[in-house]
């Protein structure tokens, strides 16, 4: 199979924007369904309380204060991202890069914090259902935060290289994932906090 015609075709800008938006939205929908699976499954186990063993004496949740600090950090990260993104996603504007850097740094700290929370859970085996849920939610959240941090690092690198101009939609769709990460993490944390 030869590739006889050898021209390269540029996509129209509107298509580039539309595909980025559609792609990120679909990924968010898919990931949100994974979050729903975790929440629904956890609620189901709590409701069943199989053999009265769902939670036994001595079972404990991760540190509330540490979790709260991570969530406050995430909120601040989201706000800082918004302060950068609202300008950066408009054509011809770049936004205050300092806000993006701040947002990224807070996200990194939050990811480290969530990882620390997960690593310091000293559950005895076999881990009861209640603690299993907390373990899953903690690490599931940590994975999300690291993923957002990696996206932030790539985005920041792009900005440092001066390659955001003409690609304002990148700032826009990245913000969608960023806000989604913040919202999903907070929802999971609230769910876990009120799980009895």
């Amino acid at each position: 199979m030869s590739t006889s015609l050898e021209q390269v075709y540029e996509l129209e800008p509107r298509i580039k924007v539309a595909r980025a938006r559609a792609g990120v939205l679909l990924l968010i929908i898919s990931d949100a369904l994974a979050v729903i699976a975790v929440i629904a499954g956890s609620q189901y186990l709590q409701a069943l309380n199989t053999e009265g063993q769902y939670r036994v004496a001595g079972d404990y949740a991760p540190s509330f204060v540490a979790g709260l600090l991570v969530m406050i950090g995430l909120l601040l990260s989201g706000v800082a991202y918004y302060l950068w993104g609202r300008r950066a996603s408009k054509a011809g504007e770049t936004g205050q890069t300092l806000f993006l850097l701040l947002s990224l740094l807070i996200m990194l700290v939050a990811a480290v914090g969530e990882t620390w929370i997960g690593a310091t859970l000293r559950y005895g085996v076999p881990i009861q259902a209640f603690e299993s849920i907390h373990l899953l939610i903690t690490w599931f959240t940590a994975v999300h935060l690291w993923l957002a941090a990696i996206i932030g690092i790539l985005l920041f690198g792009r900005i440092l290289r001066g390659r955001i101009a003409g690609h304002e939609f990148v700032a826009e769709v990245s913000s969608w994932w960023w806000y989604y990460t913040v919202v999903a993490s907070i929802l999971l944390w609230l769910f876990a906090t009120y799980l009895t």
Binding site: M1, S2, T3, S4, L5, E6, Q7, V8, Y9, E10, E12, I15, A18, R19, A22, G23, L26, L27, I29, S30, D31, L33, A34, I36, A37, V38, G41, Y44, L45, L48, N49, T50, E51, Q53, Y54, R55, V56, V125, P126, I127, Q128, A129, F130, E131, S132, L135, L136, I153, L154, L155, G157, R158, R161, R163
Partner: protein, 647 residues
């Protein structure tokens, strides 16, 4: 919209040396992946041994870490992350020459072994992988029929038998999930909608190579003790499975779910935003609709499958208790999460096959599609209903008696849109001047087989009869009629239909017909006798058949020989065609969808000028005598072959 970049393209035309060919490629990917998996596995082995009170390594942790390392380092080796880092840290955007190089320009056959972004290359890669998976899966099927041909343990002990059944099941399920959305969704759909490539070419390559690295993961189960939990991997049996062969299954699903999610997102985005001018929703070919509904269902269902396998891995590696009743977990959690994926998955498989059948029916009946909107509406109805019927898989589990009646009713509702689809399919053939080709034969078989699969499904949807039939061979025969009879036969219809366009060569029609008749007779014979065995009361999952079921099983195994022969006929046909087959014409069948308007082999950018669509591609009139060398054409003559486009 286009820009010529011949000067920059010259730079990549230099003859590469051996090293630059191999790095990055599948070779460097495998080498780095194996080394990475071995080193990480060894490190985790040492660590878990050191922390174990009995100084015994945690085999599941070792297997899990080795699988993760295998995937990660393979992807580094094949260059999957190069584009990611360049996106973030390169000083410039990829030049056209670099893009062309990524798309495989000037790399000949070697582009199929690299991280190539051209959607046609990815489509062919999916096709080859699908056929390979079918072959491996069918070896399992023949082993099962051999073992069940006579009473007593003939070849395998029960544990090995169960592993073979389980591996056969999950390999075939994966193969059938990708069999149309992979090859057709990647190769044909972008051309059908008038696009030059997929929306995200790099992610397209990623979705395929994730599938590629996944194959050794499931095959590793045979060296790690196997898994006896069935294709559904039921917990808590999966938790209690002592060998790490079960972990192979779990990671196989996790990686496959990620691959499929990426592919689904890519295909959906492509159809949503990459359609050419005039390709409105009301002019989309039926195949595109079928693939679209299939990947949309997959996008929604696979997160549940992924998360439930993550929970099983946590249970196995960290001793959590999501599914262990003694520690507050529940097997019902697994069953719900699994079947919330599991039932839509049936339609992930079947919808594209039915859509392809409708597409092919139009072309070979040479008349307009009957009820285009009905077909779309019925597929939409099936898709919506399929996500609210999972509970019928739990009728006899004892988990949810109050919900059994609603689940029974909505399950039976699915027969309405399915019936409408069949009405449209039959209506398309009705009074058509049918050109009987190999693809047409497979479409006829879809009609026959799916009716049998569908009607027997009603007995399993009904609570009273399901109480008697569940867990028996009747169920096995039913879902084979559905997934193979409709799904796989639909795939082979698409295979014979689009093979000339994808590969540029014409399959031998005589061998194709021989393949079809051996397959159809063998298939119907095998599974009709398994229906009988099921009605006699034979349970599934029994390596040694009991005396009352011997005759039915022996006859079924004899019919299975025909299927085995058909597989080798198909392989011979493909190999012979690749070696000595005739070159295919651009429009092999007189089709009117856009893929038949481009040359064969398809150029890298598909269209020299993007087409403008003006109508549905199904406006066939009456047949007129064919002009020499042009094949059958419609009353519009040669121009009438391509009425969907203006230019």
């Amino acid at each position: 919209m286009s820009s010529t970049t011949e000067s920059t393209a010259v730079t990549v035309d230099k003859r590469p040396n051996l090293i630059s060919r191999l790095i990055p490629s599948v070779v460097s990917g495998i080498v780095l992946g194996v080394i990475g998996a071995a080193i990480v596995g060894l490190i985790v082995n040492k660590i878990t041994t050191a922390y174990s009170p009995d100084t015994v390594p945690n085999d599941n942790a070792v297997a899990a870490s080795a699988f993760i390392a295998w995937v990660f380092f393979f992807m580094i080796g094949i260059g999957a992350f190069n584009g990611v880092f360049e996106w973030g840290f390169s000083r410039h955007e990829p030049t056209p020459a670099e893009e062309m190089h990524m798309a495989g320009k000037g790399q000949g056959l070697w582009r199929y072994f690299r991280y190539t972004t051209d959607h046609k290359v990815v489509g062919v890669q999916y096709l080859a992988t699908t056929l390979a998976l079918f072959f491996v899966g069918s070896l399992g099927a023949f082993s099962i029929r051999l073992e069940q041909s006579r009473p007593g343990a003939l070849f395998f002990n029960p544990s090995t038998y169960n592993t073979i059944v389980s591996a056969h099941g999950i390999i075939m399920i994966v193969a059938t999930i990708i069999m149309i959305t992979g090859p057709v969704g990647n190769f044909v759909v972008p051309i059908m909608i008038g696009a030059r490539d997929m929306a995200f070419p790099r992610l397209n390559a990623l979705s395929y190579w994730l599938l590629f690295v996944d194959v050794p993961v499931i095959l590793s189960t045979f060296f790690l003790g196997g898994f006896q939990t069935g294709w559904f991997g039921y917990a808590p049996i999966a938790d209690q499975q002592l060998t790490p062969g079960q972990t192979s299954y779990d990671f196989f699903i996790i990686i496959f779910a990620i691959s499929t999610t990426i592919a689904a997102m890519n295909i959906m985005t492509t159809v949503l935003v990459m359609r050419t001018r005039g390709m409105t929703w009301g002019r989309l070919p039926v195949t595109v609709w079928g693939v679209l509904f299939s990947v949309a269902l997959g996008l929604m269902a696979f997160p549940f499958f992924l998360m439930v396998q993550v929970m099983v891995v946590l249970d196995r590696v960290y001793q959590t208790s999501f599914f262990l009743a003694a520690s507050g977990g529940s097997n019902f959690l697994y069953e719900h999460l699994f079947w919330f994926f599991g039932h839509p998955e049936v339609y992930v498989i079947v919808l594209p096959s039915l859509a392809v059948a409708a597409e092919i029916a139009v072309v070979f009946a040479r008349k307009p599609v009957f009820g285009y909107r009905l077909i779309i509406a019925s597929m939409l109805g099936i898709s919506i209903l399929s996500v609210i019927v999972w509970g019928h898989h739990l009728y006899t589990s004892g988990s949810q008696d109050p919900l059994n009646i609603p689940f029974m009713l909505d399950t039976e509702l699915i027969s309405i849109p399915t019936g409408i689809f069949f009405l449209a399919l039959v209506g398309t053939f009705w009074r058509g001047k049918i050109w009987v080709t190999v693809p047409t034969l497979f479409v006829f078989a879809v009609l026959v087989n799916f009716v049998i699969g569908g009607i027997t499904g009603v007995y399993l949807a009904d609570l009273p009869t399901d109480e008697l039939l569940h867990g028996g061979m009747f169920v096995t025969a039913h879902f084979h009629f559905t997934l193979v009879g409709a799904g796989v036969f639909g795939f082979f219809a698409s295979f014979y239909y689009w093979f000339p366009k994808m590969v540029g060569k014409r399959l031998n029609p005589m061998l194709g017909q021989l393949h079809f008749w051996l397959f159809e007779i063998g298939f119907v014979g095998t599974f009709l006798f398994l229906f009988i065995a099921g009605l006699q009361g034979e349970p599934r999952w029994s390596a040694n058949i009991a005396a009352p079921f011997v005759t039915a099983n022996t006859v079924a195994s004899l019919f299975a020989i025909l299927i085995a022969v058909s597989v080798f006929v198909a392989i011979y046909n493909v190999v012979y065609t690749l070696a000595r087959g005739e070159a295919a014409e651009a429009n092999e069948w007189g089709g009117k969808t856009l893929e038949w308007t481009v040359p064969t082999p398809v150029p890298l950018e598909n269209f020299e000028e993007l087409p403008v669509v003006t109508s549905l591609p199904y406006s066939y009139g009456e047949l007129v005598p064919a002009t020499e060398g042009s094949g059958p054409v419609t009353e519009g003559g040669v121009e009438g072959v391509q009425p969907q486009i203006e230019s």
